[in-house]
């Protein structure tokens, strides 16, 4: 019985150390590689750590309510779209990786929304939009809502 108590206490201590010490915002390793990353969350897979914004566009002008970014991870060789709500108000924000994935949510001001990621080396565009209603479709046109192709 005493040994069981000691084992339970030791396991509890290990769990505390793991939960508090685990790097959530910047995972140093990727949890996917190659086409296995397709359709996955770039943050959850660790691919966003060290990623770069290779295109950013202000579709409604600058200054404007929306910024659309094309993000690239050289850890995972993946691309995804990210849209920023700079309107100062809550809006539905859509981030679309053209021809691949899109995601939308009701976003607070100064917050971002991002799509799933796609493995590749080039040929990607990010598109985005904002609205008072949900944008439950991929944003692909008009072209001014999209970045140029990387």
């Amino acid at each position: 019985m005493r040994k069981v108590k000691i084992a339970l206490i030791a396991m509890s201590a290990i769990i505390i150390v793991v939960v508090l010490g685990f790097p959530f915002a910047s995972v140093a390793y990727a949890l996917c590689s190659g086409s296995a990353c397709n359709g996955t969350d770039p943050l959850a897979t660790g691919c966003s750590a060290g990623a770069a914004t290779v295109r950013q566009k202000w579709p409604y002008g600058n200054p404007g309510p929306l910024k659309v970014e094309l993000r690239f991870s050289d850890t995972c060789n993946t691309f995804w779209a990210r849209s920023w709500n700079y309107s100062g108000l809550y809006y539905y924000i859509n981030a679309t990786l053209k021809n691949w994935y899109w995601y939308q949510r009701y976003s607070p001001p100064s917050d971002s929304t991002y799509s799933a990621q796609r493995y590749g080396s080039s040929g990607f565009q990010a598109c985005g939009d904002f609205s008072t209603s949900p944008i439950t479709w991929p944003v692909t046109s008009p072209s001014w809502k999209c970045t140029s192709t990387y």
Binding site: A25, K57, G64, Y150
Partner: protein
């Protein structure tokens, strides 16, 4: 005797399971809050840098900015620039969009797009310079 030990075991295991469940919940919450934990870094802070066709390169605080060229690109005016990278973070010329401007006579334009042309590596393979284009809607 056996029944007493069983009861004692349950008294210990049940709180342990609750604790594990709580730890998992904390894990999920921290992971969810990290989804949008994106930073906007401002250091090192640079002074204003002005480039034009006469002054095509400037170095301030060990950061060198080079004007590669500029030309009309459709309705926009494109300016190509390279700059030294202070470290290995994702440095850009603009973030909110008002950090870089194009002055034409007495008019000031903000960019509508910024894009990466490429990175120049050092001998050890790390990225030391980034080259980009900026599109300004001159009409």
């Amino acid at each position: 005797m056996l029944k007493t030990q069983k009861v004692k075991m349950i008294r210990w295991v049940f709180p342990f399971l609750v604790f594990v469940g709580l730890a998992v919940a904390i894990f999920q919450i921290r992971q969810a809050s990290a989804r949008d934990a994106i930073g906007y870094f401002t250091q090192p802070n640079l002074e204003n840098v002005n480039l034009d066709k006469q002054v095509t390169q400037l170095t301030v605080n060990d950061i060198t900015i080079r004007l590669l060229g500029s030309h009309q690109n459709g309705e926009n005016y494109q300016v190509d620039i390279c700059y030294t990278l202070p470290d290995d973070r994702d440095w850009l010329l603009a973030y909110r969009g008002n950090e870089v401007t194009l002055g034409v006579q007495d008019r000031v334009f903000l960019p509508v797009e910024e894009g990466t042309i490429g990175w120049l590596p050092s001998t050890d393979g790390s990225k030391t310079e980034r080259c980009e284009y900026l599109l300004f809607p001159v009409g």
